[in-house]
Structure formats: C-alpha cells, structure tokens
Symmetry: C2
Subunit: 198 residues, 2 copies
DNA sequence: CCGAAGTGGATATGCCATATCCGCTTATGT
DNA sequence: ACATAAGCGGATATGGCATATCCACTTCGG
C-alpha cells in the first residue's frame, strides 16, 4: 500500500518526516490555507527543502490526510458490525467530529465538496457509503424517521462543523450539545411520526 | 435618522442610487468580498465615481445592510406581541433565513461575529435581544426545553446558515428541512424515548 | 456661459502566496 | 580520506489581486 519512493538519504528521510509532522501541526492549527513556507519554518527547515519533497501544498496535504480519512473509513466500516445501527451511527459521527474539532485542516477538507485528489476523494466516498448503510439500517430498525437518508448526512455534518468555528465556542465542547440535539431530532418517537420533507 | 448629506447634484444623486442598487445585487450574488470595482462596473459607472461617494467597501456595505438589519429587528420586536412565543420564534427564524438564503452578503454579515460598524452591530444586538426574550418566554410557556437559552441562538442560526452554501443544495430549499428538524429538537415532548433503553 | 461639481478608468501601490535557483553543506561508499 | 551525488537554505523572481488615487475631460445649474 505504501508506494515505494526512490530511497532517500538518511537525513533527507528525517527531514521528510519533520516536514510531515510540522504540516500536521500547522494545518491542524491554521487550516489548509497555511503556506508551505509556514510549514517549512515551523519544521525548522528551509522552504526549498520542503518543495523538493512535495511539489505543492496539495500533495503535502494529501499525504497528511489520506491516512486520516482512511482511518475514519475503517472505523465506519467496523461500526457496521454492531447490531444497533443508530448507536453505531451516533458513535461514528461523534468520532468524526472529535477529529474535526481538533483539526482545522481536516474540517476544511471535510467541508469542501470537490476538488480533492483521488485518494482523498475515494476515502470520503467510502465513508459516505458506510454511513449511508448505517442510516438505512437504522431506518429499517425503526430507530430513525422514515424520511432520513444518506442525503442528510452531509448537511448534518456541515451543521455541526459550523458550530466549531463559532468564536464564542468556549472551553466546553458545544458541538456535542448540538450533535445530540440533531441526532435526537432524527429519532422516531410517539410524538414525532415520520414526516415528509415539506 | 437619515443624517443630512451635503445635497448632491442631480446626476450625482442618481449615480449614488445606482451604486447602492448595484451593491445590493453584487453583494447578494457574490458576497461581501466582491470589490468596489465590481460594483462600479455592474452599475455601469467608473470606479472613481463610486469611491467619491463611499470611501471604502465597509461604508457602502453599511449603508446597504444597516436598514436591512433594522427591518429584521423590527420584525423580531413585532413578533414579541403575539401570544405564542414558540410560533413567533419560529416565524422570526424562518424570516431571517429566507433573507439570508437570498443574500450571500447578508449571510456573511450575520456570520461574522465582530468587526462590523456601529449601526450594524447595534441592530444585531437588538435582534439577539428580542430573540432572547422570545426564547425565554417560550421556555416559560413550556414550549421548549428548560436548557435552551439565548446562547443557543447563534449556534442554531449558524448551523442552518451553513446548509445554505452546501454545493448540493438544489432548487429545493433544503434549509427549511433542517430548521424544522432543529426547532423540533428544541421542543419539550411528551418524552422521546428511544425504542430500546440504552 | 462660466465655474463648480462630477466622471471615468488607467494605473500606482502594496500585499501575499507560490515556486525557483544556485552557492554551499553533508552523507555515503570505496 | 576523498570524490561525488544528494541535499539544503532562503533570498528573491513572478504573478495575481484588491485598494485607492489622480487628473484630463464632461456635465450641471444658476
């Protein structure tokens, strides 16, 4: 799975790792709009060094986040094993949002609909598909309303995500409150019969 | 309330109106990041003409949106008259989101927490206060949960707002669906038990 | 008909991200 | 130890973009 790169000199390999680590930190803190110069400086390296290994920001971001998304995908797939689809869906969403809350770059990646490179796009698609199955199962199990579908996934994630960059967001993780609110709204209940989208 | 300006020549006054109208359209379509050059061109005027009347984009945006926000504020105050606070709150939120859905610039203004000029800031504060009262009343009337406060207003608006710039947003106004979902989640219900005790 | 007011838009200015280039340093294996 | 390829740093070229100005020309209004 790790495509073989042409064997770097030992110091170069070391700097490559430093670059990646710095990129993780910088992207997490300042988002994807941070420059490769920022990353290089934060890694204690020259700009040229970074550009030698990664042709541009996109390539660097891809290496940083592809694995990350794959992990999420794996978690989503694993969640499909459990018997209770609703609880599984809830757990996956909480897991995703926890990651997003700690990583501005990841948030931007999740948010932007298109334009991401192939491995990222693939991982995203996989996640969506797994969640789609969870939603379908939860619906069949009567845990959530009839009219909830995969199409609701993106909006829901986007909504919770938007709470994250609210200035007032204090030390408490406000997003948990709103995720709970929304998940609650999805549930079927005596008083909330499945209703059609207006 | 309208501060007296030093009486413009008739053509100048006309161009001023053209500029404002163009600004409304351009800001609505492309957001506040549109340039004054854009606005001037769209108004069929030279850049200099626009800059003579409005020192910068902020000043222009203020004139365009101050009244807009005042209207919303008025609507919110009017809503306080009705007997059913929950319905009133719902109506106000729907009204605000309808405006926002049609105006990208307004959305950006709503979203950005600070840094807006005095009249804008005042109007916003007024809106928040009125809505705060509606929320308090709705709570007292037992229509919404005990733990909902004014502090939930901004997150809720932000969440719905975020749905608006979702690329997949088709011709249907998806935001109505999610606003309903959230409002529904605020309600007190004769319990909303999970199908299974967890 | 004259002077003040207004106009247009090319352009100066400044900012910022991207990416390159090349003289110097370091690793590596023989 | 030495030769040589690989790697390094970071000043700087490049280009894009928004802001704002300036001034020769036009138009308004008394």
């Amino acid at each position: 799975m790790s495509q073989e790169r042409p064997a770097l000199r030992r110091d170069a390999e070391h700097n490559r790792r430093r670059t990646l680590e710095a990129a993780r930190e910088v992207f997490a803190a300042r988002g994807l709009q941070a420059t490769l110069n920022d990353v290089a400086h934060h890694a204690g390296l020259g700009v040229g060094t970074v550009y030698r290994r990664f042709p541009n920001k996109e390539a660097l971001a891809e290496v940083v986040y592809a694995g990350r998304l794959e992990d999420i995908h794996a978690a989503a797939r694993a969640a499909l094993e459990g018997p209770d689809a609703y609880q599984a869906l809830k757990a996956v969403l909480e897991h995703v949002m926890e990651q997003a809350a700690a990583d501005r770059g990841l948030r931007e990646l999740i948010r932007r609909g298109a334009g991401d490179s192939e491995p990222i796009a693939r991982a995203r698609q996989g996640i969506v598909e797994s969640c789609g199955r969870l939603i379908a199962r939860a619906r069949e199990q009567g845990a959530i309303r009839d009219d909830i579908t995969v199409a609701d996934l993106a909006p829901i994630v986007t909504m919770i995500d938007s709470v994250l960059d609210l200035p007032s967001a204090g030390p408490v993780q406000a997003w948990r409150r709103y995720l709970a609110l929304i998940l609650d709204g999805l549930r079927t209940g005596p008083e909330r019969p499945a209703r059609r989208p207006s």
